[in-house]
């Protein structure tokens, strides 16, 4: 029994789980991090990271076998042969779609911190106040000032490169030197600025790729192969950043192959006493005990863990007394934007593959503007010069054609929107006990969709993109849109939201489960609204803040 007792348990090892493990172990707590999947060792297990493109049998493409094996992943870009091992085995871990939801998961140490997009933006008070002002969902129990120093703390450790642009809606952070805009992006930016002045902004992306050496990590080498795992540790991941820091304390134990099936709830103390796991390899059950539990299993699986916990007290699980557990599923809706050609600059190129692009922060429904929808969206994109992939149909055959393939093609500029999704009570996940995964555990059923507000927003998202690129001198601009299926943003949020009232929220202002104060949920599940910025930096800040509070409370004997 005693060997299974720790001060703290962290469920999950992705971005927020890694942060929880680091913070708790650095503060002296004997901590165990439980990860449902296999271990991936930094550098050693990035098996494809140093291969040339020609070393992949299908040059990165997808085979019919892959398409068959990954019915969800195939729906979008993640299915490819270069990092297939980082995505969940869908046959082992199915889910039910009452409505289509594209759930892209990574079940291994590091979780999706290995494959994430790395764009890192602070929120603004506009985002924290939005629900209150709009009368949507519930009010965030915190404001920007509560998170500001934790944003700094997270940025300084993770290493975020970016420019201090002074955009009012997008607070500047503690950045490493920014990456450069390329020659075409600079040109587009110049025209953009001439047209929009200070009303809209066009900036270099803020990304968790370090541009100067940091904590024994090598600065970005401009390979743009981040999602294979970085042998230089140049982007923030559990493996490159939080895990080594946590291991250095001597206080952290990592246990892969540990599927947490429930949080063990003690009715008398009204607290969790530990967790139960099933070993994914042996199917054996083990209990682990601790004073505090951090739930960082990713938004939807964190809700799953809670739903399966304390069901003898609350039928719907721990945190369900609010009626909100598993509800308010959010993501960013995308698949809408525009692109076109850039004329000129034929004698210019760039060298190196920059794993970053440009960002246009939100500008809609600010400063008194009222569209026929609420909230807003941002854009990510960039300018690039195509090589061989230029329209080959326009060319012929033979030796001259072969030679022409090594000439640079034309310049293009494209960008896609990331739109805020509102928290709708009826966008929900539930347990489907009729369908089981490989381990006999019930799976999640999704009943989630974009609604009117998102659909109206998407009209602007395409039209604005076309208009802005046209105004910025891009030629032959074409817009595109899609049905905006949720999940594809891979920014799942909201299933155990923070709030001010236990009747309408699962977590309080410190990410504590109202019904079990020593249980903290600090991943996307905690989000009360979605904003339109990429959310991971906010998870990092929330996690560091909650861990600091948890340890304080523990010392005071309050939990």
């Amino acid at each position: 029994m005693s060997t299974n007792t720790y001060d703290a348990i962290v469920i999950g090892s992705g971005i927020s789980g890694g942060w929880a493990a680091k913070e708790l172990s650095e503060k002296g707590l004997k901590t165990i991090m439980l990860e449902r999947g296999r271990n991936i060792e930094h550098i050693k297990d990035y098996v494809n990271a140093t291969k040339g493109p020609w070393e992949f049998p299908h040059r990165g493409g997808r085979t019919q076998k892959m398409i068959e094996d990954y019915p969800v992943l195939k729906r979008d870009y993640p299915l490819n042969e270069t990092n297939l091992d980082y995505w969940v085995d869908e046959k082992e871990s199915p889910y039910v779609e009452i409505k289509r939801f594209d759930w892209f998961r990574g079940y291994h140490v590091g979780g999706r911190s290995l494959m994430w997009g790395r764009q890192s933006y602070r929120w603004h008070d506009t985002d924290f106040e939005a629900n209150l002002k709009d009368g949507v969902g519930v009010d965030w129990p915190i404001r920007y000032k509560d998170l500001e120093k934790w944003y700094s703390y997270a940025e300084k450790f993770a290493g975020i490169s970016g420019n201090r642009d002074g955009v009012p809606i997008l607070p500047d952070g503690d950045f490493m030197p920014p990456m450069d805009l390329n020659i075409v992006e600079k040109d587009v930016q110049k025209r953009f600025k001439e047209f929009y002045k200070e009303s809209r902004h066009f900036i270099i992306g803020r990304t968790a790729n370090i541009t100067v050496p940091h904590n024994n990590r090598t600065n970005c080498q401009y390979r743009n192969k981040c999602w294979l795992g970085c042998p230089f540790g140049a982007y923030f991941s559990t493996q490159s950043a939080t895990l080594p820091a946590a291991m250095a304390t001597g206080n952290l134990t990592v246990r892969p192959w540990s599927i947490v099936t429930e949080i063990l709830y003690d009715k008398d103390t009204k607290k969790a006493k530990g967790v139960r796991i099933v070993d994914a390899e042996t199917n054996k059950t083990y209990d682990y005990f601790a004073k505090i539990v951090f739930v960082n299993a990713s938004a939807l699986n964190s809700a799953w863990v809670l739903m399966n916990s304390a069901t003898d007290v609350w039928e719907g699980g721990l945190g369900s007394s609010s009626g909100e557990l598993g509800h308010n599923v959010m993501d960013h809706h995308l698949g809408v934007g525009a692109g076109g050609r850039i004329e000129g600059f034929e004698d210019k190129y760039y060298f190196g593959r920059r794993a970053n692009g440009i960002y246009i922060p939100r500008y809609r429904n600010l400063n008194g503007e009222k569209r026929d929808y609420i909230r807003g969206f941002g854009y990510q994109g960039g300018g690039s010069r195509s090589g061989w992939s230029r329209d080959i149909a326009e060319m012929n055959i033979g030796g001259a054609f072969k030679d022409a393939l090594s000439e640079p093609g034309g310049w293009n500029f494209g960008m896609g929107g990331f739109g805020e999704t509102l928290p709708y009570h009826d966008n929900k996940i539930t347990l489907d006990k009729t369908k089981k995964d490989k381990w006999g555990l019930p799976v999640l059923a999704f009943d989630v969709e974009v609604k009117d507000n998102e659909k109206k927003m998407r009209v602007d998202m395409m039209n604005d993109a076309v208009e802005m690129l046209t105004n910025a001198g891009v030629k032959d601009v074409k817009g595109y849109t899609s049905d905006g299926v949720l999940g594809r943003g891979i920014h799942e949020m909201g299933t155990a939201r923070m709030g001010r009232d236990p009747k309408t929220s699962v977590l309080n202002e410190w990410n504590q489960v109202w019904d079990a104060k020593n249980v903290f949920v600090t991943d996307g599940a905690a989000m009360t609204s979605a904003a339109c910025q990429n959310p991971s930096l906010t998870y990092m800040a929330l996690t560091a803040r909650a861990a600091n509070y948890a340890v304080d409370e523990l010392k005071k004997g309050n939990i």
Binding site: R59, Y222, R353, G398, S406
Partner: protein, 186 residues
């Protein structure tokens, strides 16, 4: 290009298991590559290889066959095309053969290099004629499938990426404005 490089490239392209050299002596109808889905006889295989070479011929630099691009094309169609794509490919191949026979009275494999180029160029020209109802026929579909994969295979080959363009696995820097003359950087 020396033969050792060609063979090395071919080995890289072929990967491990899918393509195995079969007995090269005797039976003319026996294919030299073993595919899992696609059933091609030796003549058809040759036709595809010759078409690859027509699209990217050997000049002062290696051609499609030197680089094993034809084998890459087989692999892609075998592994990555769905059933319908493969069926269309086979029907298109047959129609392509028929069209060649109709025009020249012999098989594509027996055409001179100049005739092969002329035939392929005809298809290229057809595709540029607006509202040409023939441009989407299956023979043309077969041609574009081979061309697409040939170009893809060539431009992602080690030879191309290391000797035709400047590709560094670890650039180590981002130069946001880089003058270019001929060779491209990616």
């Amino acid at each position: 290009m020396n033969r050792r490089i060609a063979i090395r490239n071919m080995a890289l392209i072929m990967g491990s298991a899918a393509l195995l050299p079969a007995c090269l002596s005797g039976d003319k109808g026996k294919p030299i590559v073993t595919l899992k889905q696609l059933k091609l006889d030796a003549a058809q295989e040759n036709l595809v290889s010759n078409l690859c070479e027509t699209i990217l011929p050997k000049t002062s630099t290696p051609g499609a066959k030197d680089l094993g691009i034809n084998l890459f094309v087989f692999k892609m169609i075998d592994d990555c095309f769905d059933k319908k794509g493969q069926d269309d490919f086979l029907v298109g191949l047959e129609e392509f053969e028929t069209a060649v026979d109709k025009k020249y009275g012999k098989s594509f494999n027996d055409l001179t290099v100049a005739e092969r180029s002329a035939f392929a160029n005809d298809i290229e020209k057809q595709s540029k004629v607006p509202n040409n109802k023939d441009k989407d026929n299956k023979a043309n579909g077969f041609y574009w499938a081979v061309k697409g994969q040939t170009v893809f295979g060539y431009t992602t080959s080690k030879y191309f990426m290391t000797e035709q363009i400047v590709y560094e696995l670890v650039p180590g820097r981002y130069n946001a404005m880089f003058p270019v003359k001929k060779k491209a950087a990616v």
